[in-house]
Symmetry: C2
Subunit: 401 residues, 2 copies
């Protein structure tokens, strides 16, 4: 509530739940004080079949959610041997003594299901609640760190949902397009989808850095067929401008494509500063197709590692078509890869001129066929510029094959 | 509520309000249906002196917040001539006819203050509400797009706060530590801070990849002094383990330090795959100190660009002390930088052995003084592994100077 941490749980959990066919009606954040937490959970249980809390399960003094909720529901907290063994093993594997404070994490409300934490110490908890509704409600408590919450949701909460809330029918599909503006995306697809909208399909659009998502949703008995029909029409409209579905990221799609084709990649990054390499290496198995990259943030680095000619830099400047070309060819030759991508541009905020404004970027793609350069003007803040440029480069590579 | 858009309003507004000394007690997101919106606003007015809504003020059919709130408060909506003039001017400046449906944006609840929209059409609205509390409450409605909301908050809401809620004193300071676990951080600092806690200081802890934040807050007349005293004690306890304050990121702190010292940096990244370079190049001005990096994701790249010896790779493997050392020395020589950092490790999920488990990483720092290598065991998922290792490398560089 101090605004020092961005709440990404809302988006992540809402998306996962929507993809699984569940409708989220409300998200609440409160300060970690007893009164506020209990009040928020009480209000949520009055409205929803499933309430998920995040955070407040750790070992420090402000981690009070477990105690507050047990108290509110009138459940005793009892030490759990499985959790203790798990936490002792966690620290043993790291050759560190178990801090005494972690003992509080072994306490579990009576009657709760325990989700052992594959990436941390505090377990998740799922408590069946009977408030007189016809159906048992569930209160699920998950740890706050995303690296703990996310795998736990997938491995432990999803099976619980499938068992307890299987009677939901709500279908959602997102198709991720790139290279087309948000208004134009809507203009292109709204007409063809109109007959399905009349039968209950809902369409949403979301502009993201370098991409526009088209979201198709429907509820009721005909939902699956309706969304499937909508997906086919959307694919026909956009063709190769669709790079992925649902939460697929472009890096992942590119790596999987290259793995399938058994083709290798090298990078020569200037203005993206390593972000393309970072996106590629986020994907397990990337080392089989990614030979490496050079972040050539200086003239000397461009010359030394990529063989960019001093005359090209002197005559055309680092942000130029010819330098992009030489960088890509140089990277492909030096790493001996099938493909090489280079980017050189002005991320800003400083350094622009009328002839070469901030946001100018040249991307080159070298392959066995030769080298091609494209120019873009990405007028954004520095971080969004890097994101947009990275998406452009990877989408080009994806469609080049 | 489908999780397709990240909610950044919460963080932005909470931070601004906290910096201005106001305590935010709750943040709620609901679907844009009439019942859910009215219920959320009614509950908020029951608890808070100031309620801010965002979004739903535009011209399309799903923009219903203005009407719903006027209805709920029993206020008539009346056309406002200033708003109409503003919107007509907005379109005239762009040589576009004013769309008829923008007329709804000129409707203002009786008695509301109007905030003209400097970057869009829909005005913000501030309605004084008397629910029988001793003090007038305010309901402030802001447009949803961040580029409209943010300037409007600064130019219109801040003066309202200063006029109506001047009697707040609330102070917050975050100190960012690294290299120490969350439990241990609390064990170290809770005792020394206890006398201040008894005088009203509140302490919070937040674990992030590679860092633990200690947050000190206080309200009332003595808040500034109390938080300042707490900050000094925390600094004494953790010394160089504190790398930044409030929202400072490690990349930013490192770049500013190197700029001040006029020292240059080069990188040789294997398992972090470009993430260290990405963090460095996120900072405007990085090009003055960052000469570049090699993402050496293959043996050949390590040998060719960094001069790692084939024997070292054959005898010790890519993830070894000697290869880390040769990578750092090679990068420093090749780029001609003052400092060079190298990282080589096993990000996983595959590829570990009992002798070299997933999570093993060697970081080397080369400088005029020579080269030093440190070994870490970062047992996390792949993405967190990259984050934690990046923080370790940058914190070491920061403290090495």
């Amino acid at each position: 509530m101090l605004g020092r941490v961005l709440n990404t749980h809302q988006q992540w959990l809402c998306r996962r739940l929507a993809d699984l066919g569940h409708v989220v009606t409300r998200q609440v954040a409160v300060a970690d004080t007893g009164h506020a937490i209990q009040e928020a959970v009480r209000e949520a249980l009055a409205h929803a079949d499933l309430v998920i809390t995040t955070g407040g399960l750790g070992p420090t003094s402000d981690d009070i959610t477990r105690e507050l909720i047990a108290e509110m529901l009138g459940k005793k907290l009892v030490p759990n041997a499985d959790v203790l063994a798990h936490i002792e093993n966690f620290f043993a594997k790291r050759n560190r003594p178990r801090p005494e404070r972690t003992s509080v994490e072994t306490l579990v409300p009576e009657g709760a299901l325990v989700f052992l934490n594959a990436t941390g110490t505090a377990p998740g908890l799922a408590i069946p609640v009977n408030t007189g509704k016809s159906k048992t409600q569930w209160l699920v408590m998950l740890p706050g760190p995303p690296r703990e919450l996310r795998p736990m949701f997938d491995t432990s909460v999803v099976p619980l949902l499938q068992r307890e809330f299987a009677d939901e029918i709500f279908v959602c599909r997102t198709l991720r397009t790139t290279g087309i503006g948000e208004s134009r995306v809507q203009e292109m697809v709204a007409g063809p989808l109109q007959p399905l909208v009349e039968r209950g399909l809902e369409i949403g659009y979301c502009a993201r850095p370098g991409a526009v998502d088209v979201r198709l949703t429907a509820g009721g008995d005909t939902a699956t067929g309706l969304v499937k029909e909508g997906e086919l029409i959307t694919q026909q409209v956009f063709g190769p401008a669709i790079f992925g579905r649902d939460d697929e990221e472009i890096g992942q799609v590119v790596v999987h494509r290259l793995l399938k084709l058994k083709k290798t990649l090298a990078l020569a990054e200037s203005c993206t500063g390593g972000l393309i390499a970072d996106r590629i290496t986020d994907v397990p198995g990337a080392s089989e197709i990614f030979l490496g990259g050079v972040v050539s943030y200086s003239h000397a680095a461009k010359q030394k590692f990529l063989g960019v000619r001093a005359e090209s830099l002197a005559e055309h400047g680092a942000v130029s078509e010819i330098v992009a070309q030489e960088m890509a060819l140089g990277a492909r030759a030096a790493f001996g890869s099938d493909y090489a991508i280079s980017v050189t541009g002005l991320a800003g905020p400083g350094g622009g001129t009328p002839a070469l404004p901030v946001g100018t970027v040249f991307i080159a793609l070298a392959s066995a066929k030769g080298v091609e350069v494209r120019k873009f003007l990405n007028v954004w803040d520095r971080l969004t510029f890097k994101e947009v440029t990275t998406t452009q480069a990877l989408v080009w590579l994806l469609n080049a094959q």
